[in-house]
Amino acid sequence: MSETNGNSKSKLHGVWALTNRELKKWYKAPVIFTLSIIQPIIWMGLFGKALNIGALFSGGTFALPPQIASQFTLPQLQLLGSYFSGLQTSILQGAFNTTDYFSFMAVGMISFTALFTTMFSGMSVVWDRRLGFLNKALSTPVSRAAIIFSKVLSATLRSMFQAGLIILIAVAFGLQFGLGFNPVYVLGVFAIMFLICVGLSSIFIAITIRSTRIETPMAVVNLINLPLMFASNAFFPTKFMPDWLQTIAKFNPLTYTTDAVRQLLIFSTDWTQLALDFTYVAIFAVIAAAIGIVLSWRFLSK
């Protein structure tokens, strides 16, 4: 028998094989895949249509009491009506930077999905450890960093897919694109999603890399998911928050992600702000990924 066993040393090969394993568990399982498509639709319908903040300012709320209305002539009433509807538009514009709360919220939903999908990347590390797969992978020449990075990458690809889906659904539900929107900007959305997801899943994996119990990542996730979500501009502008919360929101990478997506999709794009958003999220992603990989090196080789 020949002595050469034809093993090549490509590191990338291992990353892709492990990523594909994760993805297959998702797209080859019809139930999980369907649920991951339905989930954003339901959330969008619930959040977007239930929290219809725009409706607060619609004509009905501003109807004049009859005894006052009777004092005005019809042309005066029409004038007043147009004044109020102008006011309503400017309130929305002032608060949300767009006149349509649904569009504002739909974009927040993209960050929301990124956060939730990546949080579970930590869980699968714990499963792999408990089921012995991690040990088996560790006994092969595949790079330790590849094991971790494949988790990051699969969570990232999944959230990017869902982000694309959310944009499509949001358009179907009536998302209003900003002035000067160009379909190419959607690529920008995917770019920022890639960065934030790499960052977030690296963080979640770093937190769970040592734990052998599934309860640990669950507790961590429960502790930080909603605070992280609401201490950002995903569903409500930060400028109305108390100072201390604004400070937190200012450091929260989700704030910058959401803003970047809004700049690209529904605002009239402010390029300086967009550049700042991208820089912040990119720095976050690089630091988080570095931490994740360093920790994986340390803890995977006990």
Partner: protein, 333 residues
């Protein structure tokens, strides 16, 4: 390089700076043999294997696999070894073939080569008909065979098997032994395995190291070990009430006589030959033999002799452990 495929020198692993799982063990495994670590739960078998397959760093001591230092040249070691872990690590959501190809990818084996090998391996473990079925639908024995196939995808020179038949029923266990033997002849490897089943060690291993509390108590072939106990044991009883120990002791090849429970327990070499002489001697002196039995030493007796406890007790707890593990895996679905 010497003939030793695996060589351990003072190999030690201490967890959390006080729990010594493996305590300065020395052993060597020769080319082409099946070397077994036999011992109860918690004896340090899996810890030893985990150090040899480079997923645990030794606290002290050294070990070499094919001349590569497990601590310093771990990537070289990983390339030449195959590992069949204790757990069922195959992904349940993937098919049998997909699992084998995934293993191939972890070794960086080109797809075309991997596919060819996968076909051969599936044939070897008789899973060809199930290659496109999800592992979820596999039985315990089939999963074990799939693990064996995965462990061979990189054509390893040394294959490590950690409790290869844990949790399998007796028939499946025997069948799995046959697959292991077949693999060994087909690929000409050296095998290192751990087990707590005496029959398994007896049936498969060329040499055994009995390990207890992190230390190797004795090393040898199953035959040598049994022989070291001082031969076969003859149990007999006589009708008469007198003590005939001295009489029996005079018979050639009898090494030891003990009177217990109204009978005699005799240790003798070549039991089949010695027994008739013992009976003859008794009869000549007018005694009547009422009961007689002859047993060849089993590995369990060897085990008992060296560790002071029966392995059967240890086995019990291990079985519970395996059941728990299974239950946990099910919970995931």
């Amino acid at each position: 390089m010497s003939e030793d495929i695996i060589k351990a020198e003072g190999l030690t692993k201490v967890f959390n700076s006080h729990l010594t799982a493996v305590d300065h063990i020395d052993f060597s495994v020769k080319h082409g043999e099946i070397f077994g670590f036999l011992g109860p739960n918690g004896a340090g078998k899996t810890t030893t294997i985990n150090m040899l397959i480079t997923i645990l760093k030794p606290t002290e001591g050294k070990a070499f696999v094919l001349g590569f230092d497990i601590a310093k040249q771990n990537n070289e070691v990983r390339n030449v070894i195959g590992v069949v872990p204790q757990e069922y690590t195959a992904d349940e959501d993937l098919t049998g073939l997909e699992n084998i190809l995934l293993c191939a990818d972890l070794y960086g084996i080109p797809r075309s080569v991997a596919k060819e090998r996968a076909v051969d391996l599936l044939k070897l473990v008789e899973l060809t008909d199930f290659k496109d079925k999800r592992v979820q639908t596999f039985s315990g024995g089939m999963r074990r065979r799939l693990e064996l196939a995965c462990g061979l995808i990189n054509r390893p020179k040394v294959l490590f098997l950690d409790e290869p038949t844990l949790g399998l029923d007796v028939q499946t266990r025997t069948a799995t032994w046959n697959y292991i033997k077949k693999m060994k002849t087909e690929y000409g490897m050296t095998l290192f395995m751990t087990t707590h089943y005496l029959e398994e060690a007896d049936a498969l291993c060329d040499r055994i190291a009995i390990i207890d509390h992190g230390k190797i108590v004795v090393v040898g072939s199953p035959e040598e070990l049994k022989h070291s106990l001082g031969g076969d044991s003859i149990t007999l009883a006589i009708k008469e009430d007198e003590d005939v120990s001295e009489l029996i002791q005079k018979v050639e090849h009898v090494k030891e006589v003990r009177k217990e429970n109204g009978g005699y327990r005799i240790k003798a070499e070549f039991g089949e030959i010695t027994t008739p002489f013992v009976i003859e001697a008794l009869r000549k002196n007018g005694y009547t033999v009422t009961k007689l039995s002859l047993t060849e030493p089993t590995l369990n007796e060897v085990y008992l002799e060296y560790t002071g406890k029966s392995l059967r007790d240890a086995e019990e707890s291990r079985e519970t452990f395996a059941a728990q593990r299974m239950a946990m895996r099910r919970a995931r679905q």
